[in-house]
Each structure stands twice: as C-alpha cells, then as structure tokens.
Symmetry: D3
Subunit: 304 residues, 6 copies
C-alpha cells in the first residue's frame, strides 16, 4: 500500500485534497464534541471595530451555530460611547481611575450599547444567514445587578454612580432563544431590584452568563495574542494556565494591567462550572474556529 500512497501524495490533484481531508478528520471530533454545547463569546476590541475582522467573527459565529453549537455573544461598548459623550459635551469624571457614571453618562451608554452596537451585531449575523436577537440584561430580568462601590486606596468606599456588578443571572430567556435556534446578542446592562439600570463590565457579564449556562467555553476576544511570558514576543505565549497558578502569575507581573480583570472573569467562570476559558486574539482570522476545532488552538486557555 505504501507506494500507492506515496504516488497519490505526488499526484498534483490529490495531494492538497488529502491535506484538506486531514484537517477535516481532525476537526470533526471537535465539531461533534461541541454539538449542543454552549460557547459564550465576549466580543470587543479590534474585532468589533475593523470591518474585515467584524465580518470574519460574525461569519465564524454563524458557522459555529450551523454545526450545532449554542453561541451566546456579550459585547462591550468600544470607543463609540466616548465619541457620543464628546458630541454631547459631557465631561468624563473619574474616581480612583474609574469612570464615574452619572445619569447623563448612563443614558449615553445605553443609547450606544442598545441603540447602536447591539443592533449592528444582530444585523450582521442576520445578513450572514444566522438568526440573532438583541438583548440587554434588562430583558426578561436576565441580569440582576447591584451597585458597584469600589474601595479607594484610603479604604474609603467611593460612589462611581450607575455602575453595577452582577448579582444573579436568570438565563431563562437564553434557554428559550437557544431552543428555537436564535443567537442571543447581549449588551452589558443590568438592572437592580428597584429597576435602576446599571452599566457593568462586559467581561464579567460574559463570565457570569457562561457560569449560569454551565457553558462548555468562555472566550474573551482581545487584541493580544494571549498571555505571554514576554508580552513583546508572541512566541512566548503560554498555551495553558491552570486556575491555581493565576495568582502567582499576577504577582510575577506576567499577568498585568487590563489582563488582570479578564483573567479574574475567567476564574469566576471556571468556579461557576464552565469547562474551559480562553483568552484569544480577535485579530487572527477565524480565531474562533482554530481555537475550537483544531488540536493545537491559538490562544491561552485557562482551565481549572
């Protein structure tokens, strides 16, 4: 048989075909493994801004859904909020480095998230052949939140306004949409017990929703290659980190800055029953497909 096979590989028609067949044979077990499983994607960064990347992510989401994965998207706000605030002449205020969200700011945030970005993602998915439904955490009581009160360096608790943290996720509406094969696209707005809407960090919302759904995967799309020993060198990316090792990596400064809250969101998700979490470079074409359907993956996974 050996020689026949070699002959085939030299066959200018068959050789690439057989290479393709190998990729398929590698991917199919993953596809099967994710059948009917939930993958929550925090969508943000460049992948939400650059047209070509945007189209790519949306295309991948529709493909994932088409092979039986239950995809849930949570999006951030991007630079649009700041843009509209500027137009309306609203001055940003800060407390200990965090943006204070007064009523006007909250109103702008909601208008941009629910009245602009959310609809654009929904529209994109529908045009690509999927069936998306936009939600905020207010809809069907999806995200119950309470006010977030950060502690300053002086130990005093500060008031940063209408900023929330997740208290409870009520996933019923997600189950309903999933059962009928709609893709939920969720803005990170919650509502407290008094009906006050609150702005929440999108990574956290994604993590809590993933936990509530006992998702197979939480994927945070970012603008870096993954967690790298030397951030300047993608070749030093760590493919797999155990939850137990994260705090040490934070102390050592390998996980630092904006990556810290993302890693914390992953840890929360793992603690809540999510199987695996991924920090993935949204700038790589088809990053989602590669991470889910190939043996090697391309980002950093954090596992328990």
């Amino acid at each position: 048989m050996g020689s026949a096979k070699e002959q085939q590989l030299e066959d200018p028609v068959l050789a690439p075909a057989i290479e393709r067949a190998r990729v398929l044979a590698e991917a199919l077990p993953y596809i099967q493994q994710f059948d009917n499983k939930t993958v929550v994607i925090k969508y943000g960064g460049h992948a939400m801004v650059k047209e070509e990347l945007k189209a790519g992510v949306i295309h991948d989401v529709v493909l994932m859904e088409s092979v039986g994965i239950r995809v849930v998207i949570v999006h951030g706000g991007g630079p649009e909020i700041t843009k509209l605030m500027k137009k309306l002449g609203i001055q940003p205020k800060f407390f200990e480095g965090q943006r204070v969200t007064d009523e006007e700011t909250l109103s702008v945030t909601q208008m941009v998230l629910d009245g602009k970005i959310n609809g654009e993602i929904v529209n994109g998915i529908n045009l690509a052949g999927g069936r998306a439904v936009g939600l905020s955490g207010k809809d069907a009581g999806l995200v119950l939140a309470k006010r977030f009160r950060p502690t300053g360096p002086d130990g005093k608790v500060g008031d940063i306004g209408y900023v929330g943290e997740v208290e409870r996720v009520n996933p019923e509406i997600l189950d309903v949409l999933d059962k009928h094969e709609f893709i939920p696209v969720i803005s990170p707005i919650g509502v407290d017990a008094d009906g006050q809407t609150l702005n929440i960090n999108a990574d956290t919302v994604a993590a809590e929703i993933a936990a509530a759904l006992k998702a197979a995967r939480l994927i945070l799309l970012t603008d870096v290659r993954g967690i790298c020993k030397n951030p300047a060198d993608p070749a030093t990316m760590i493919p797999t980190i155990r939850a137990a090792d994260c705090e040490a990596l934070i102390r050592d400064g390998i996980i630092s800055g904006g990556m810290i809250p993302k890693v914390r969101a992953c840890l929360e998700a793992l603690a809540g029953g999510v199987e695996k979490t991924h920090i993935l470079d949204g700038r790589i074409p088809h990053a989602l497909l590669l991470e889910l359907f190939t043996d090697t993956g391309i980002g950093t996974e954090i596992i328990s």
Copy 2:
C-alpha cells in the same frame, strides 16, 4: 325572594359588594373570550409620557397577560428623538411635510427608540411583575421593510431617506416569546434585504404585526377620545365604524389629519385578518381594561 333581595341591597355592607359582583359577572365572559388571544397595542402619546398614565398602562398590560391574553406592544418615539437631535445640533429637513431621515437622523432615532424608550417600557413591565423582552424589527428578522418613497403633489417620487414601509412580518420570535409567556416590546425599526435599517411609522408596524399574528385586537392608544362627529365634543364619539364606511367619513372630514393614517392602519389590520381594531384614549385610566372587559367599551372600534 324579592323582599329578601331588596333587603340585601339596602344592607350597607352587601349593596356595594353586589354591585362589584355584577361588574365581575359582566367581565368574566370577556376574560374567558380573550384567553390565549393576541392583543397588539400601539403605545404612544401622553400615555407614554406622563408618569401616572404610564404606570397605569403598564399595570393593565401585566393584568391582561396575567389572565391569559397574549399582549404585544409596539411603541413610537415620542418627543425624545427631537430632543436628542436638538442637543446634537441636527437640523430637521422636510420633503412635502415629511421628515427626511438621513444617516445621522436614523442613528439618533435608533438610539432613542432601542437605547432609551424600549428599555424603559421593558423595565416598567418587569418591575410591575410582568416579563418583557425588548425587540426591534431587526431582531430575528421580525420586520422586513423596503424604502418608502412618497409621491409629491407634482407626481414626482421624493427621497426622504431611511424611512421604510413594511414588506413582510416574520412573527416566529413573537410566537416563541409568547409560548414562554414573555411580553414583546417592539420598536418600529425595520431592515431591508441589504441589511439597511429603516425607520417606520409605529401605527403601521403595529397593524402589520397584528395581521401577521391574526390578532383578536389591534388597539391604537391616542390622545383623543375616539372618532367624534364633532371633535370638540366627546359626547359625539362614534362607538363603532364599519371598515366600508371609513372612506366616506374621510371625505366628509370627520376622519381627518393625523387620524387618517391611524384609520388606514386599522383597515390594513382588518384586511389582514385581525378581528377588531380600536382607537382608544390613552389618557383615561384603565382604558384598556374598560375597552376589553366591559359591555360598552369607551373608544371607537373599527370593524370589518
């Protein structure tokens, strides 16, 4: 028995109780008749602006849902759109009396509808004990639209920008939400075959959705008592108008001005299979309950 009964009616405790019992006995057959039937409400006008009326309408919607009516709400934009346009310094343009919707105006419209008003209604219903989910016509391909091109008096077709008319309603998401007892709250935004969002008249959207759902009732909440022979005198309100008589009433000027498109929306709904349509004064407390659950009703019904 007669005298015993008279005695009871004079009984200071029982007399009002018995009066209440009569209202109930009158209402129950209506309640039963609407069980599992769909009522589409176009929500707008004062009832959407004044806090007390707002709370009343929302309370009635939750009650209707609680006794088994499938309520669907379509809301308009109110004065909020104009307010934000002013803040952003956008100059309104008009063609033959109709507002031209350029890209900037469309963006503002969507932000106000989907990012402000829709969420407020959803929030209100949830606080009142209902379970609402906000939608726009983009979600799940609910409202497929095409550009609306009005003809000017010179016979020329004008371009008023991103304004649409309904081409087709795809009610699947409404059926799904209804099956799980969520109340859909819909903003009048459609999307055309190329994915372009379009702003549409809310009365028309409500009428088309009612037709697609073969609703039992379409109710347009307005700021007038109904259609009156003499608009200045509520006592001249016409309780029932047949569809066939509407054009004559328009010619006679009894139906005029802003009432004309509302009546046309009702006629479309009737043609599409809706059982009855109502033009109702949203300023009357519990107007919805009175119209649906009492023998007399309080607005004008248009029937086929």
Copy 3:
C-alpha cells in the same frame, strides 16, 4: 394631571366606567392567582332549592371554570329524600338523634341523590354553557368508605345502618375530568371494601375530596351569613378565624349546633393541605365571585 383627572371623574360617561375599571383591576390578580387552581364547593341549602339562587350559583360556577378555575361540586340531598320516603310510607328511625339508614332508606337516598338532584345540577351547568359530569363516590372508586358507628352517651357503639365515613379518596377520575375541562358534580355516596354503598355527610365528602386534590379553596355554601359573634346580628360576623382558635369558639358557644360539623370539615380540609376554607352565605347573589375575586370577601374564612 390632577385637574384633568378630576374633570374625567365628573364626566357623566366616564365616571362609572372608571369605577368599573377599579373593580376589574382589583379582581384580575385574584383571577390570575386562581388560574388552574382547584376550588371544591359543597352545594346545598337554599342555594340548591330556590330557582333564582340556583341559577346564580350555577352561572358563577361556569364563570369560574371559564377563567381557568377547576371547580368540583359536592352536593347534599336536601328535603327531597324525606319527601320520597314519605310517599313510599317509610318511617324514619333514629339513634341518639341520628337517622338510621336501613336498606330501604339507603335505596331512596341513592335514587334521590343520583337519580334526581345530581342530574339536575349537571343539566343546569350544561345549559349554562359548562360541561358537567355527574359522579357518585362509587364511580371509579372515588370514595372508599367504612361504616360509621357513633358512640351513644352511655358509651355504647350504636348501629345506624348504611351510614359511612370516608376512608380514602381516589381522585384519579377527577384529574381526568379536569384535564379535559369537565366539571365533576359528586353525590355523597361511598362504597366500602365489600362493595356496600354507604350514605355519607356531604360536608365531610367535600372536605376529604378537597384534601385529596390539595385544593386551593373549600367553600361550604350555607344559609347563614358566616360565623357571627351574635348569630342574630350579621354585622358581628367574624371574617377570619384561625384553625387553632376554633375549639375555643365551640366551647364559648359562638360556633354551635349544625355549624360545628361544618367547622370540623373545614379543619380536616386544612389539615389535609387545603389552603383556605370558607363558610359562605349561599343566599347572597354571586357570593362565590365576591369571596374569590375581591379584596374583602363576604363570609367567614377558616385558615390554618
């Protein structure tokens, strides 16, 4: 807004409408609360004899069923049994004040209950638009009974013949009928393990059936206003009595005579898991609707 509202209330058309709306708004939450709940009614007394009251109770039952309440009726025998016994020349016998039921008396009892009264109630409900099915405790083994042997004042156990007490209720046939929206109308006849039919007190049968169905309400229709501190003065009626307080009220003579076994039936029902029990004046028009659907109620409720 205030002045507009005042104006409306003075409006001669709207003012009563708005009053009606308030009754409705008050009733709807109750209607919703009873949706799909079971209410067992012991039907007897004047309400079963006087034509006008009869029609009223039956109408209310059909209304209750129409808004989703599962109504179960247990009826007594009224004066008809005595009437037929007289015609047949049967002499009543007594033991310690209780009627002795020999074979002939039992035969008359069954003929009147199952061959006359039951069918009349069934017929009435069907004519009023409901769908009733008559049952006795023999049907489908609904009421398994054993002989009731009262103890005389001398401590001796007496034989009062074919009189039974409930041993076990097998509610399967009631569930089947309910599932298909039939109203069961039940005569208080049971059957013992040897197939002997026995006559049972209707209040007890109603209480045991309510317990077996985990009913939301047991309502005993009587010919008095409720339990009154001074039976001569309806104004002294006690609206709510706790189960724990009943024995004291019996000792104090406030609950006395024929009311004692009724209260005992209520206590049994409560012990068996019924939510609330009511002793209600069947002579008040729409007593059932008022008790169930208004804030105040009109009889005495006994609660645990």
Copy 4:
C-alpha cells in the same frame, strides 16, 4: 413425526392440555384483532336480573377490557321501574301500545336508571377488578335527543310525553374515559336542546353510541338464542344475516315482535359505520367471549 404425535395425544396428561392449546391458538388472533377496538354492549334481560348471569357478564366485560378491548355498556331499566311505579301508586297509561311518560313517570324512570341500576353495574365491575364510571346521556352532553312522536294507525301524531329519540351523540366523554381505561356504563336518558330530560329506548342509544364511536361491534344481549327460522327450535338459528336481507325476513315473519326494533337498531349501527352487530343470548355463560374469540360464534350476527 406422525407417530410421536399420536403417542402424545394418548398421553393422559398431555391430551387435554393440547386441546386447550388449540382453543388458545384459535382465540389469540381474535384477541389481537380486537386490541384497542370498541365493543358496545346493550345490557338487559335475564343477564341483568339473575345473579349468576350478572356476575358472568360483568366478569367477561372485565376480561375483555383487560386484553385491550374498549367496552362501553348501555343498560336498560328492567322490571324495576314498574316495581317502583306500583309502590308509588302511579297508573301506567298507553298510546297505541306505547307507554306514556308523564313527569312523574319520567322522575321514577330516572331514579331507577341513574339512582339504582346504573350504580349496581358500576359497583359490580369495580368489585370484579374493573374501573367503571356511570353516566347518563345528560353527562357532558353525551346524548342530545328530541321528543319522539309516534304516528297512530289513523295517521295522527300522538303525544307519549317525555320519550325521546337520539338526535346526536357527542362521544367526547367516552373518549376521555377510554383513554384512561375507565369503562363507561350508560343509562338511556337523553336531554333536548331546552334541557328537558327524555327517556329513550336503550337498544337505540347503544346503536347510536356504537355508530358515533365507529365501534367494531354492537352486541345486544337478549333472552333468545338468536334469530331462528323456527323460534321454537334453537337449532334453526341463522348465524349470519346481511343487512340487505332483513326487511324480507321481517316481511316473512321470521324477524317479528320485539326482535324488529332490535334488528332496526343493528341496521342503524351498521349504516353509521359499525363493523358488525350481534344479537346474542345473554343466558349462555361467557356468551360474550364465545362470540368474540372463537371461529364459530354462538348468536346471530347482522352484517352489512
């Protein structure tokens, strides 16, 4: 093999066993054929009076039900009605040989049918291990009737009072009971559009119910061996008669007297879609089993 077999048949243990096996092998295909089929039995005559026959019929009914046959029983009144009338001193009146049913007679009829005979059959079945539910044609609107007005020999239409003929059977309650494996036992009482109860011939009620249920069999239990050429000689019984030949047999006097309305009921049932009808001697032990489960049968079948 032959000799081995002969040897077995001589085996004193095996020979009868093998004979039994043949009966079984013959019966099983019939049992299978009737699985989930409906058999309507008109129960009356000696089989309803003599204790031993009564027990036998009821036992057979329970066996039939146990192997998957849907049995429906319609019973007559027997001599009990006359007995009670006598006790009450009611004088029977006749019109052209038919008993006139005035209000008093109707009342007695219902009390005996629904308050005595029906319950006894229900009780019997339940004691024998079945699960019976007693019904009259009033229950769930089962039998809608109209007054029967016979024509006298002078061509005048006579008034025989509260006697009915079937107008429509509404079998919903029978389907419900069957689905839950309850055996309906039905008294021949109908109700007209005004709610007036009417006494109806039980053979006719059985035939109409069989037609409404598209029953596989209608079996009329009688006190004769079947239709015999010479009524005095059971050996002349005709096993099978085609519907088309019945009128000729009536003309020839072979079908005569009380057998005529029974045959007419069979013809009606056949016209209404019943597969086969049987006139069967209720005095023969296990007549039902023999007729249904053996090749030869024992009564007269009338087929279309």
Copy 5:
C-alpha cells in the same frame, strides 16, 4: 338456574362451546398479566430441527407478540456447525471434554449461526406474519464478553480458544426494536473489548439477556419433558423447584448432565431479576402457549 345450566351442557351445540369459553376465561387473565412483559426464549433442540415443530414454535411466538408480549429469541447452533466443519475437513479438538474453538472453527460457527440459522428463524417469523430482526451480540454492542478459561482437574487453566462468557449485556437495541414491535432473534456471539468475537453458550446468553431486560420469563426449550425424579418416567416431572433447592437436587443426581448448565442459567436469570424461569419440552405442540396461558403449565418452573 341450575337446571337451565344442565340443560345447556347437554345441548350438543353449546356444550363444547362452553368448554372453550372456560379455557378462554382461564387464559385471559394470563394474557393480560403478560401484556407488555418480556419473555426470553432460548430456542434449540428438536423444536429447531423438525419442520412441524419449527412452524409451531414460530406460530406461537407470533401469537404471543400479537397479544402484547415482548418476545426475544436466542438460538443455538444445532448440528449444522458440525456438518459444515466436516465438509471443510476441520478436525474438532477438545480440552477436558470441551470443544476448542480456533480461528477456523470460530469462522465456521459464525457463518452457520449468523449466515444460516438466524436468517432462517427471521424468515420463518416474517412469513408467519411477525416482524423479526436478526442480531448477533456484536450488533450495537449487545453482548460484551470476555474469554472463558476453564480450569482442568489438575487445577490448571486451559485455553479453549475463542469461547466467551458474558460480561455485560447492553439491551438498548432490544428496547428500540421492542418499542417498534420488532422481534429480535439473537445468535450467541459476543465481542470482547478488543473487538474479538467469541462463541458463547446460548443458554447463558439467553439468561443474561433476560436479566438485563428484567424479563418476566426465561424459557429454555429442550428435548425433555422437564426435570423428572425418574428421567425415564415423565409422570415424575417436578412442576416447580425453588432456586434454593437446586444444588441439593444436583447433589442427589436428579439434576444431572446437560441439565446442570441449563439450571445454572435459570439461577443466574433469577438472581438478575427475572420473575420466573421454565425448562420446557419443545416437542409438545404449543408448549409455549400452555406454559404461559393455563393454570397448570406443562414443564418445570424454577422460581426464586
């Protein structure tokens, strides 16, 4: 009544009919008792070789299925395997009296079992009106086996080749076939964890399958009348043996030779939850029907 009855028994037409009725009345409760119950039959011996007996067993199986019994057949190999081995010139080898199954022998065994006998039984059932599906223990992983290694008299474990013992039965495919009313016909081939097929004793396979299905009955068809105190005299057959007594009967030599493994299979089945087991003479016509549907039975039952 007595005399009427005697008269009937003398009636030359009715007397045998009534005898047949008694057999039926006796059988029906058994038929009902086995409704939807599983009976596993080990089919082998003369009943699988002689044409007339073969047709009889198959006919009975189809009848049993037709009245709602779930029949499962496990067959042996009969003399066909030896026949084919001879034709192919394969020399049988033995170890301690057991046939050694080398690769060639295994191949012949499978070809005869799955390629000849199994198909003939399937074909026979289908021709008789049943719906059979042939299986081996390989299909759907039905029988997971491991190599059977007998211990010789010297205490050494011998290698008898590809002979297996059951490790686990996975009855899913049997449930699926049963749900759709197919009769499974199973050859006693198992497969081990490495995919090696193994030949297994059919009695054991039948017993393990019966246990896995929690069958009501395991019936081993043999060529003897049952277990007899004196094997030469069928009249000494023991109708019922308790599991606890079997070892004593083996020690006493009453159960001996080839009967020992059959009894052991029965004990295993009983231990696994089978209700009753039978050793039955397959040479008696309709042996299956007689054993299942009559009061006395005709073989030996072993019960726990």
Copy 6:
C-alpha cells in the same frame, strides 16, 4: 489591515493555522447542509479488503455520523464467496457470463455475507466508536425481491437460480435505527413473497434503499478514480455528468464494462428521488470526507 495580515501569514506559527481555518470555514457549511440527511454508501472493492483503507472508510463513516449525517452502508461480498466455494469444492456455473446461483451457492453466499463480512464491518464501526447494527434484506422485510431472469442473446429467458432483483424496499427498520442513532450495515440479500432468499447485486440494493429513503447522496465506492474520458489517465476524469447524458456516454464507450451497471444504479436512484449520486475512488484516503465536505470533490458525480 492589509500589512498586519501579511505579517500574520509570514508568522511561522499562524500561517498553517490560518490555512487550516480556511479548510474548516469551507467545510462547515457542507457539514451543516448534510445535518440529518441520509447518505447511502455502497461499500466494496479494495476499500473493503485492504486493512488500512478499511480502517479509513470506517473512521470516516463514524465521523460523518458524529456530525449528524445518517449513514447507511450496503456491502458486497468480495472475493470471500469464491474462496469458500473453492474450499467446499463447489464448481461455479455460468449462463451468458452470469454466475448461476444454485442452493449450495446461495447458502455459501449468505454464510459469507451475513456470517462473515457484515459482522466484520459492524465490529469495525463499533470499535471506532460508532454504533452499528447488521442487517440483511430479510430483516424486518427490508428488501422484497423477485427472481431475476436474464434474457440470453437468443432472446430466451435463462434461469440463473437464486438471483433476485429488488421489488420493493420497506425502510421502516432503517428509520427506527436512524432515530436511535444506529448505523445500519446491510448485506444484499432479499426475500421473495414465498420466503425464498435471493442474492442481489449490491449496487442495485444500495440504489433502491437510497431511493426509498429519499437520500441526499448515494455513493458507490469503486477501485477507479471516477468516469474518465481516457480510463488510463485519471486527469481526464469527468467531475459531473447529467443523467440525460449517460446513455450517450455508454454508446461512445466512455462508460463501459463493469461501470455500466454502476451508472444504471445511479440513474435509478436519481429517478427515485435521491439528490446526487457519486462514483468515488475508495482507494483515496478520506475519499468520503473530501467528496462531501469540500468545494471541489474528488470523484464523478451523476446528477439529474
């Protein structure tokens, strides 16, 4: 973006990953398109003989099943039948070039097909993680056949013994197995109305089963690259042939020899409602995956 992308492609880690992502993105829509669709594979030739190819085909079948394709396998007999005939000293006889199948030959054929090859495929699939069930056309009446009588060149109809042609396929058992996610593996044996088993051409059986199942694809695995204009040169393979053009290609000799019956089987399948048929080279690794899941495919498809 362009330059970033170029940079990525040069990235030694990412470049091949992105290539793999492209294959996946190409394959996913096909995978989705075949979800829940039926693909019937005629399995034979080298792919059934050479161990490596065998493992490959079976692996692909399990992958296909795992992503939701309903796979049905029909296998041929290969050289094994001839081998066993030789061993048994059976002389092959021929009529007009066709093998005459006498009883002995039929017996050998069944033993090899059902007792050897079928089980090996079933075993292979089960070991690879699938769940296969072996069937012949006898099981559950799957393939009803009649004798095939070829016409000789002299116009005389010849008798070639137990060779059949398909008369009707009864796919119920296939639907049942599919519903429970079992893979049917079918040998080409049919049965006629008298229960006589017949040997049938496997390509035809596959085609008729595909038609009966309204399969999306019929794939015939062969030992050639496809239909080639010049059979000696694989580069001349015709990727797509319309059904209407096949007869011309036969006349021109491009389709010739053993390929003719294969093409005829494809045409029959297309006529019976199969969407597409493929003649595929079973020697190419992962031929099935490439044909189904890539844009180009690798064999010849025949379409209507």
